[in-house]
């Protein structure tokens, strides 16, 4: 039976470590926010100031209106190019322009054909440029007036934050939690303080539980911080209840912390623990949780692997809570999966944890 006094001793000491080490504390609190902001703006698929070269052979009212529409959109920056230099491939090669538009002489008449060429060496951007340009042309051509209203539809910013904020909460949480426990245990091994604990009658379970408990609070704090910043900066909606969010985040944080424990039973040094914790949380969460790529379209083998990625379940949960306002009834299955994973990892960690030096 684990002895509560011993667990409390270890957890209490861990709290001192956390509070004393103001720099780590700052990292734990500031890093998620920074990450959210950086990821948020980097993943933000809004275009700005794309260099666009236009060859206007019409020089009439209609063509000027089109050019003006591009200019005023803010997405494009029109670069002046002499008529004889207007060779799209050359402009792309010299990185002077990312897109070119040729307006024919008959602009303004029925069925004008315009040629838009886009530098697709970065396919994602090219896709966006195309969408934007079509939007501008469509709006300008049909109404015959300059009406910027439809453009808001093409500002993917609002839409993508729905998509990336929940994913980032899942990713940042698992990463930080796994780092916290794995480093805190491997640090004791490295500093030699573990030796003094191991001569006492504490059991592996007591040590591990004592290490996990204080970090649960820290993890939950992070969860709310990221959510808050996401709602504030990126205007994500929150349709569900905060209590449900708290409950399921607790399960997820616990699961991630146990993942860190497991890492610490393998890694001998802090460095190894850090690399390992990052390695098994960052990319798998990004790629295999259903965050960036939908799980049903993955090959069968990968689909199986996604079953052991905690973020996979948390994503279902958090998207459900935030966007659809799901409650426990719809989410309990995903929650159960997290609980099972946590228990399994804790058991394996206890079994693997060595009560000896080597």
């Amino acid at each position: 039976m684990p002895n509560l006094n011993r667990i409390r001793a270890i957890a209490g000491k861990e709290v001192y470590h956390i509070l004393r080490d103001s720099r780590t504390l700052a990292i734990v609190i500031l890093m998620p926010i920074l990450q959210l902001i950086i990821f948020g703006y980097a993943m933000n698929m809004e275009l700005q100031n794309v260099p666009l070269a236009i060859s206007d052979l019409a020089h009439n009212h209609a063509s000027r209106r089109i050019i003006q529409a591009f200019e005023q959109s803010g997405y494009f920056r029109i670069i002046p190019v002499a008529v004889e230099d207007f060779v799209p491939e050359e402009l792309f090669r010299q990185r002077k322009a990312q897109a070119t538009l040729s307006i024919p002489r008959d602009c303004g008449e029925e069925r004008t054909q315009m040629l838009l060429k886009v530098d697709a060496s970065d396919p994602n951007t090219a896709q966006l440029i195309q969408n934007y340009a079509l939007g501008i042309l469509g709006g300008g051509a049909k109404s015959g007036l300059l009406d910027l209203r439809p453009f808001i539809l093409y500002n993917p910013d609002l839409k993508s934050s729905f998509f990336f904020v929940p994913g980032l909460i899942a990713m940042i949480l698992v990463m930080i939690c796994a780092l916290l426990t794995s480093i805190s245990i491997s640090r004791e091994k490295e500093m030699g303080t573990m030796e003094q604990i191991l001569v006492s009658p504490v059991s592996a379970l007591e040590i591990l539980l004592g290490k996990v408990i204080p970090y649960i609070l820290l993890g939950l704090l992070d969860a709310f911080l990221i959510l808050g910043v996401g709602m504030l900066l990126f205007k994500v909606p929150f349709a569900g209840s905060f209590v449900v969010f708290l409950g399921f985040s607790f399960l997820y944080v616990l699961c991630a912390l146990c993942l860190g424990l497991l890492v610490s039973t393998i890694a001998k040094t802090q460095q190894a623990a850090m690399m390992m914790a990052l390695g098994i949380t960052l990319l798998p969460t990004l790629l295999l949780s259903g965050y960036l790529f939908p799980i049903p379209s993955m090959p069968a083998v990968l689909q199986k692997i996604t079953l052991i990625i905690p973020a996979r379940y948390y994503l279902v949960i958090i998207r459900g809570i935030m966007l659809k306002g799901n409650s426990v009834a719809e989410l309990y299955q995903a929650g159960l999966s997290l609980i099972v994973m946590t228990i399994v990892m804790l058991i394996v960690a206890v079994k693997r944890f060595k009560l000896r030096l080597i």
Binding site: N5, A9, K13, R20, E195, Q196, S200, P201, V202, L357
Partner: protein, 243 residues
């Protein structure tokens, strides 16, 4: 109190402790001497259950360490050679932490340690960060932490390294008090005047016992005046051969 039988520990091919047979009785102060790397710490760690022997057996209080590790651990107070308290904790917090780890009630822990803290002049420093204590005081605190749960067996690995001559004498006063109170004390040291205070010592060399007995008897057997000379003769002689 302690008995080992053909105790051996290998690291790969290297034999760090080589077929050691020890018998240490209750109330005894037993000293481990030997050159650096002789295998003192390795032996001590096996006695505490920190390392598995490669072969051989250990009994502490008639309990087999390999089988009843947890029971044995309760009866041991251990001070490691490498300083291993938490530097970012206050002295007092370290004490309370170890009391907690041994599930000793706070009041009892203070009762066990307060006289020692006073004797060591540590009481005023209880609220200082451990990292800020001078080396010698850290060692004193380590010793006190090893005694929070009032263990019958006290194992000290080089407790007086880095401690000034006055404090070394205080350490030994405490060690004597412990033995007087019926505790068994195992202690390793590189100070040969301290070796004189042990009831019995073992001198180790390359994992093996090269001399074992009460200091007085050993001095007679090797025809030397004091333990310093004895050490130079026994350990230094072998070192000379290595050269």
């Amino acid at each position: 109190m302690i008995k080992t039988e053909e105790l051996t520990r290998k690291f790969g091919d290297f034999i760090a402790v080589d077929h050691l047979n020890l018998q240490i009785v209750r109330g005894e102060i037993f000293g481990f001497l030997g050159a650096n790397g002789a295998g003192k710490t390795t032996t001590i760690r096996m006695l505490c259950g920190l390392l598995m022997p490669s072969s051989g057996r250990i009994w502490v209080n008639n309990l087999d360490v390999a089988k009843e590790g947890e029971k044995v651990k309760k009866s041991i107070g251990y001070m490691s050679q490498r300083f291993s308290l938490y530097q970012d904790l206050k002295a007092k917090e370290n004490l309370e932490f170890y009391a907690g780890v041994y599930a000793t009630p706070r009041a009892e822990a203070w009762e066990n340690t307060l006289p020692l803290l006073e004797q060591f002049g540590l009481k005023e420093s209880l609220n200082m960060r451990t990292a800020e204590l001078p080396m010698g005081y850290k060692q004193r605190l380590s010793l006190v932490c090893a005694l929070v749960h009032n263990p019958p067996l006290v194992i000290l690995d080089e407790p007086t390294s880095g401690v000034d001559p006055q404090a070394r004498r205080e350490f030994w006063q405490v060690i004597n008090q412990l033995a007087f109170a019926g505790k068994t004390v195992l202690v390793s040291t590189h100070f040969m005047d301290e070796a004189e205070y042990c009831h019995r010592v073992i001198i180790m060399q390359a994992g093996k016992e090269v001399a074992l007995g009460p200091p007085r008897e050993l001095k007679q057997r090797f025809e030397v005046q004091n333990m310093q000379e004895l050490f130079m003769k026994v350990a230094g002689g072998i070192n000379a051969k290595l050269k």
